[in-house]
């Protein structure tokens, strides 16, 4: 993917980091049909991994049941302002993308 497919924002407040991320992805379930009645093949993000300070904070396993252009938000402890947080995804067609952001 040429353009960055992830928008991410991480903020720390009283020791707790809140991460919000938006990914651009069609998230096809494989159950929908196009106009000619052909099934649209499944194409969805399967795994999202978030790391900070060399530790894996969260791994998300997704199905096609997650909405198009998925939104993900979560919180964690143990990082401070200026630290980096890295988020990456991989889909069922073997594509992937990742982004790094500074916690502000």
């Amino acid at each position: 993917m040429a353009k960055k497919s992830i928008k991410i924002r991480a903020k720390v407040k009283e020791d707790i980091v809140t991460v919000k991320a938006l990914m651009t992805h069609p998230m096809e379930t494989g159950a929908r049909k196009d106009k000619s009645g052909e099934l649209i093949p499944a194409h969805f993000i399967q795994e999202v991994v978030c790391e900070s300070g060399g530790k894996t904070i969260l791994t998300a396993d997704w199905s096609g049941g997650v909405s198009k252009n998925p939104y993900l938000s979560f919180k964690f402890k143990g990082a401070s302002k200026g630290d980096m947080v890295k988020l990456s995804w991989a889909d069922n067609k073997g594509k992937s993308d990742s982004v790094e952001a500074k916690i502000g």
Binding site: A31, A42, T56, L58, T59, S63, G64, V66, S67, K68
Partner: protein, 153 residues
Amino acid sequence: MNLKRRIVLKGTAAASAIGVAGLLAPRAVLAAWPEAAFTAKTVPEALEALTGNSAASESGDIKIKAPDIAENGAVVPVTVTTSIEGIQSISVIAANNPVPLVASYNMGEGALGFVSTRIKMGKSGDVVAVVKAGDKLYSASKGVKVTIGGCGG
């Protein structure tokens, strides 16, 4: 709504899910992806495949924030918060979807009991959150009415 049409659609959705799971090769890249859990058709089956346990006890310490009525089933914002200590994973399940298990979050070091995502819902039903902590399962559910389904068809 034409009931027969619904049934036919449900059937095709289920069949295609199996077909897709069998056909796609790059699955190997993501060895950790719990394929069995994501192809299970019922909630207990999915839980069994995901955690090896299908008995979840109701817990008041899990809060699900989701709309009572979702106008668009394709985008239902769901937030799960829990105060249970030592959580290992949070799973989000839409009980009436063709594939009930929507998402499963494995919590690493420092992660707090909070996840928020937008999910698709085929029709009205319960959104179930299952939290795994100390090798036990806790669950909570919330009914969501969907006026337009979001699982295609």
